[in-house]
């Protein structure tokens, strides 16, 4: 089953189109997956691998990035991966055809929500097991599907967090070292002053001694 489909712009994670799941049974958890999907779209950037499967509990996110657009779907873990990616490819072809040029000028979220109609229809063909047999061609096209990277959604979502923790730590470190440096400087100056003062006292004492008692 394909539970959720989402199309977003990679640059800023702006959702462009999505399909509402009409399945009642999974309705409960979907809320959480929705927000995960949104976050994921924001995390992705041009450096991300362009095909990836992310495991999220008993569901898998599959995504495909092409021409700066991310196509994401949520399937049950048992759902064949190649069909999922064939589905995403199909969406890409159609979506890029229809809206490819307008993607970069889109301002508001879900600007191309009308694509939903196509998503729904395509989904039906891919989910229907009888129709799936007719899609034999995908076997050949997607022979390299095995090489698709698999990662865990939590890792991906938390990667950014770890980085930011690192960042905070680093900045903490740098402030600390700055503080250390200024403290050290201060200490240095103080000890220098102390030395100078000691020497001065010594010489003054010497002069006074020479002056009053020596002569």
């Amino acid at each position: 089953m394909i539970a959720l489909t989402m199309i977003a712009r990679v640059v800023d994670g702006l959702p462009l189109a999505a399909s509402i799941e009409e399945d009642e049974q999974s309705g409960r958890d979907l809320q959480q997956y929705q927000s995960q999907a949104k976050q994921l779209c924001r995390k992705l950037n041009t450096q991300s691998p362009d095909r990836c499967t992310l495991e999220a509990g008993d569901m898998d996110f599959h995504y495909l990035i092409a021409q700066g657009i991310c196509y994401l779907c949520l399937c049950e873990a048992s759902f064949p991966k190649k069909i999922a990616f064939a589905y995403l490819e199909d969406l890409h072809n159609e979506f890029y055809d229809q809206y490819g040029k307008k993607v970069n000028t889109a301002m508001r979220p879900y600007s191309f929500i009308e694509f939903d109609t196509y998503i729904q229809k395509t989904k039906k063909t891919y989910v229907d097991s009888r129709a799936r047999r007719n899609l034999g061609s995908i076997n050949t096209e997607l022979h390299d599907v095995q090489r698709i990277m698999v990662a865990n959604i939590e890792e991906v979502l938390q990667r950014g967090e770890a980085l930011s923790v690192l960042d905070t730590k680093a900045s903490n470190l740098s402030t600390l070292s700055k503080k250390y440096r200024s403290d050290a400087k201060y200490l240095n100056t103080r000890s220098a002053y102390a030395k100078v003062a000691a020497v001065a006292v010594f010489f003054i004492t010497l002069i006074i001694y020479l002056r009053f008692w020596w002569l």
Partner: protein
């Protein structure tokens, strides 16, 4: 970014940052995103909608303290008892038992006097409105519910007024010039002043006080009580000869013989009592130079009648007594008319021609949004003159004959500095009952006026739309930035609701309109009080839903009989391309009788496939998809179905209706996406879940006793509505029925799911063409009007004020979040407010309503309205700012709740008391000089009229035969209609249309629309020579006088004589004459102004509808209700106690 987490572009990783669809306010994140869809059935409903037996606690109208205090109470005696037996054991002392002893009228002494003095005709049943005794039928309950606005601790209510007993006490700044130039108080004043210190706990030993004025009242009341010449209802004619206000019973001679009754009756009035009050009464203070000056040149109806009257030989009449009314100096007669700066154009029309003035010149402010901080000096200066002479001009209602201005009454303008007022919210969208907010709750309690807001948030407007990735909002209270915030400097702004200082985000520094940088105060958000934002994806929990329309059609025998199916199918066929939506729009159909029929409209089928589910106990969907189909792809099939549907059930003999199961099925079908469910029902559902029984006893329709069964019989519909609300499904109910359908129960399905209710009593395709036309027109509007899906609305107000009760159709999800699965441009809302903290150091307060919705095109939008109002600290300023129409609208809503939770008579009492309280408070606290008569500030001069109109409104009237469904429907309408339309339902407009001229006419789209004068609703204004149009909002009546000029008959109606006017005429023939064009233009213009379609009935004297026409003559007496003048006398009597 100023709003961390929420606005941050790349998400800080917390899922909760999404404000998700419904809960637009992340501040309310306690209710997690999931919850918003997951429907928590917390007991957060309107307390008022609780079921009947609830005590009148914090709910509707005055709770304990309110009632115990005011002097209104003392009317408990006399005939009132017949209808409302006081609680056992306390036959006469109802009020005293309630706490603060209403010392002013020791009931024991008062009651014997009152009985006979009741201004009631012998034959009429006692008007329940009058008896406030049963306000609390159960004195022991006595809850001091703190949420009630009038409610203070008894202590502050009591002593202070008694200290300030000299009426001029606390009113140092009463700056009414006209009243200061008043004639010295007439001698009778002494009688009045003694009862003056009415409030308070200062001993109950005052018998002489009240008695004195009441004897003098005798003079007033008697004329009213004098048996009317004819019973207006029986006489059934407009008879100008009927005395308008009791006393002058002399028939103007033009028609027929004067009725026999009056003269002898009048002779019985003791003339001795009358003179001191009636005749000696000097012209009221407002008869100042200007008024007196232009009085004479304005000959009007009234004058001429007077003259005729004077000319009549009326031997036995105690002329002086009667004379007091007509014999007033002419000055007052037109006093009401020309004072307000009414433009010759109707304001509504102005709005129509330039729909929203702010859009036409949005960015022309010289200097944008000067915050309140900079304004304080100018405001201070203003507050001095705020009690504008006009609003506070004292009006003696008893002498004010022609109260109504010629055109519609404009909304009062809040007393704000020019530049703030210019950008303030349009009163048609956002209106407050008090345009000057009192500083403290105690001041509000003193004024005794309801405080609340009336909104029409989704009105059809063209608005400036802002697209921006960050919407600037206050970080702590989530208020949207608005014109009334103050900018501390370039980078910081101060919220006008919670006073928190916020940063201006970088993006906001750039102004897209002027393409300049560094001028945040010139952004459109800060220049417009009404604005729309395109919401970023943080405001969406799920992708915007498509427009989904599901139609649920009753096809039982009864339904087929009415023939509505043909009209429905034809309308939908005609408008199928105009349904709002995009390429995703989905439609579906379900029909039902004793079984449920689904229609498979899957693409590729050659014709629609009907699937019948007969297991109504455990309903299921016969096929998982294809019941809701994409309209664009399956249009052929849908059209096929619509064409065949009417004939499909032609022969059905099935009489039962399983509405409950059909609703459940429809809910199942819609719940994955949400959408709109339109239910067409023609009979009482009598099968399966949600079956109802007839509860109406036709014999009780006219009873003056309490009306039963105003509350729902089952909570099935409410529960289902709440489920629907949770899944973003709204249910609209079309009730087409000739029999009782229990709208009180069925209506719940729409009320809690934010739907709308339409009711077509006795709909029949042949017998009732007017209803058919109305159904057609309203269906067209319904199908094609704008719609917002999965909406929520939140109303915020400045710290210190709090909103405690909401009115309208919605579900209150959290304390201030209204869940509106659908929102439509014809829905109005009202809220009640109280002042929780003193607004001491504030010059202005603001209110903001934010409506988040998904448009039919799949855009998520936020519409924000902000209203700014001044704060005042003197009672006279509070009165000066009263918006009487808004007050009437709010009172109507409150009374609906009260009728449901308590009883109709309670609600009626509350309405009467509202008028008594505010006027007596005005008299005691604001007026410096006490004069006889019923004095009101000019801004409240319509208040008694509107209250009386409400009492005679279908929703609240007693004694007149009213079907239960019609009554309930009227109640729904009062709550649901925006104020502009509700006002017409309350107080219809009457025009004379046989002599329309182009003088003062409007010119719209090359069409000339005459503007006749609005007349008082009194038979006195009718004449047999004329034709009159009455506009009651839903219905237009064109009444043709018996001696109507033949020219009018031929030119407009196309008939040669009066006798040939057809009995059921619903359409004016399109004749090519100037008269016909004028009147059709005028009617067309009236119709264009409202979203629903008022049907036109042409009526003659013999018509059946004449009774309903005459029932709207609210200034006249009916069998069971007081005339306006009697009502005023009653008020006066109550007030001066």
């Amino acid at each position: 970014m100023s709003t961390a987490g929420f606005n941050s572009q790349n998400g800080t990783g917390t899922g909760q940052a999404y404000a998700n669809g419904p809960s637009q306010n992340p501040v309310g994140l306690q209710q997690l995103p999931g919850v918003s869809y997951g429907m928590t059935h917390q007991p957060t409903y309107n307390p008022m909608q609780a079921k009947a037996p609830a005590p009148p606690g914090p709910g509707l109208y005055p709770t304990a303290a309110y009632q115990s205090g005011p002097p209104v109470s003392s009317y408990q005696s006399g005939p009132a008892h017949t209808s409302y037996p006081p609680p056992p054991g306390q036959p006469l002392l109802t009020r005293p038992a309630m706490g603060t002893p209403p010392s002013h009228t020791p009931p024991q002494s008062a009651s014997p006097n009152h009985g006979p003095r009741m201004p009631l005709p012998r034959a009429t049943p006692p008007p329940p409105a009058v008896s406030s005794s049963s306000y609390y039928s159960n004195p022991q309950q006595q809850p001091i519910a703190p949420s009630w606005q009038y409610n203070t601790a008894p202590a502050p209510m009591g002593p202070p007024p008694s200290l300030s007993a000299p009426p001029c006490g606390p009113l140092a700044n009463h700056t009414n010039p006209s009243s200061s130039s008043t004639v010295p108080p007439p001698p009778t004043l002494t009688a009045y002043s003694s009862p003056q210190p009415a409030y308070g706990s200062h001993s109950a030993t005052q018998p002489p006080g009240p008695r004195m004025p009441s004897t003098s009242h005798l003079g007033y009341t008697q004329p009213g009580a004098a048996p009317p010449p004819l019973n207006p209802m029986l006489s059934h004619t407009y008879q100008p000869s009927r005395p308008a206000y009791g006393p002058p019973p002399t028939g103007p001679p033009p028609l027929g013989p004067p009725p026999a009754g009056p003269s002898p009756a009048m002779t019985s009035t003791p003339p001795s009592t009358a003179p001191p009050l009636a005749n000696v009464t000097p012209p009221p203070p407002k008869a100042d130079g200007t008024l007196a000056g232009n009085g004479p040149q304005s000959p009007n109806n009234f004058n001429s009648i007077d003259n005729k009257m004077a000319g009549l030989p009326q031997p036995g009449l105690p002329g002086r007594h009667l004379g007091h009314y007509p014999s007033l100096p002419p000055g007052y007669q037109n006093a009401a008319a020309p004072h307000k700066p009414t433009s010759p154009m109707h304001p509504t029309m102005q709005a129509a021609t330039q729909p929203y003035s702010q859009t036409t010149q949005p960015y022309q402010q010289p200097h944008g949004g000067p915050g309140p901080a900079q304004l304080s000096p100018s405001l201070a200066a203003l507050s001095l003159q705020s009690s504008s002479p006009e609003a506070l001009r004292v009006v003696n209602l008893l002498q004010e004959r022609n109260l109504l201005p010629p055109g519609p009454i404009p909304a009062p303008t809040p007393c704000l500095p020019q530049d703030l007022q210019k950008i303030n919210c349009n009163p048609e969208v956002f209106r407050c009952t008090l345009t000057s907010i009192p500083q403290t709750q105690s001041l509000l309690n003193k004024a005794k006026m309801p405080l609340g807001l009336l909104l029409h948030p989704f009105k059809d407007l063209s608005l400036p739309v802002v697209t921006s990735s960050t919407i600037v909002r206050c970080r702590s209270c989530r208020t949207y930035i608005n014109p009334f915030v103050s900018f501390l400097d370039q980078r910081r702004w101060k919220c006008n609701l919670c006073y928190r200082v916020n940063d201006v985000p970088e993006e906001f520094m750039y102004n897209p309109v002027s393409r300049s940088y560094g001028e945040p105060h010139k952004r459109p958000e800060v220049q417009n009080a009404t604005i729309e934002f395109i919401a970023p994806s943080e405001y969406m929990l799920r992708p915007p839903q498509p427009a989904v329309y599901l139609f649920l059609l009753d096809v039982s025998h009864n339904a087929v009989e009415t023939g509505y199916l043909t009209v429905f199918c034809q309308s939908l066929l005609d408008n199928i391309n105009a349904l709002p939506g995009d390429s995703r729009t989905k439609v579906g159909f379900i029909t039902f009788d004793s079984t449920i029929h689904f229609y498979n409209l899957q693409e590729g089928l050659s014709q629609p496939q009907m699937l019948i589910v007969s297991d109504i106990e455990d309903i299921f969907l016969p096929t998982p998809d294809s019941l809701l189909v994409n309209l664009n792809e399956c249009k052929e099939l849908v059209q096929d179905l619509l064409r065949s549907l009417p004939s499909l059930f032609e022969k059905t003999m099935e009489t039962q209706s399983a509405l409950g199961s059909a609703l459940q099925a429809a809910f199942k079908l819609l719940s994955p996406t949400g959408g709109r469910m339109s239910v067409f029902q023609t009979q009482l559902p009598n099968l399966g879940v949600g079956a109802l029984q007839s509860r109406e006893d036709p014999n009780q329709r006219a009873s003056a006793k309490d009306i039963q069964h105003l509350s729902p019989a089952t909570d099935f519909y409410k529960k289902l509505a709440l489920d629907c609300s949770g899944q973003q499904v709204a249910v609209d109910l079309f009730l087409l029925s000739s029999q009782y359908c229990d709208l009180a129960s069925l209506g719940c399905i729409s009320r809690y799911s934010a739907g709308s209710v339409y009711y077509y009593p006795s709909y029949h395709h042949q017998h009732n063409p007017a209803q058919v036309e109305r159904f057609q027109k309203e269906l067209k509007r319904y199908l094609t009007r704008k719609i917002g899906f999965e909406a929520v609305m939140r109303i915020r107000c400045t710290k210190g004020l709090s909103i405690h009760t909401f009115h309208g159709n919605f579900f209150v999800r959290s304390t201030d979040l209204l869940s509106l699965p659908n929102v439509n441009p014809d829905a109005g809302f009202a809220v009640q407010m109280s002042i929780e903290e003193n607004l001491d150091d504030m010059q202005v307060v603001s209110f903001q309503a934010a409506l988040l919705y998904t448009s039919s095109k799949g855009e998520r939008r936020i519409r924000v309205h902000t209203l700014c109002l001044p704060v005042v600290n003197s009672l006279s300023d509070v009165f000066a700012g009263a918006d009487v129409q808004a007050m009437a609208g709010l009172l109507a809503c409150m009374a609906v709740d009260r009728s449901v939770t308590a009883s109709l008579s309670d609600a009626r009492d509350a309405l009467t008391n509202a008028a008594i309280d505010s006027l007596s408070s005005y008299r005691q606290s604001v007026l410096t000089i006490q004069q006889p008569g019923l004095l009101a500030p000019a801004c409240l001069r319509f208040f008694p009229l509107y209250v009386l109109a409400l009492l005679k409104q279908k929703a609240y009237r007693t004694g007149t035969s009213t079907r239960l469904d019609e009554r309930v429907f009227a109640m729904c309408q009062l709550k649901y209609q925006p104020l502009a339309y509700a006002m017409l339902m309350i107080h219809p407009a009457l025009y004379r249309v046989d002599d329309l001229t182009d003088e003062g006419a409007l010119n719209i789209n090359e069409r000339t629309i005459p503007q006749p004068r609005v007349l008082q609703l009194s038979v006195e204004k009718l004449s047999r020579e004329g034709a009159f149009l009455m506009d009651t909002g839903m219905v237009l009546y064109l009444w043709i006088g018996r001696n109507c000029h033949p020219n009018f008959l031929t030119q407009v109606l196309g008939v040669p004589s009066y006798a040939t006017v057809p009995e059921n005429l619903y359409l004016l023939p399109e004749l090519d004459t100037a008269e016909s064009q004028r009147i059709r233009a005028f009617i067309g213009w009236l119709r264009d102004q409202r979203p629903f379609f008022p049907t036109l009935h042409v009526i003659r004297d013999e018509s059946q509808l004449k009774a309903s026409f005459m029932q709207n003559m609210i200034e006249d007496r009916t069998e069971s209700a007081l005339s306006y003048y009697e009502f005023l006398l009653h008020l006066q009597q109550q007030i001066s106690k």
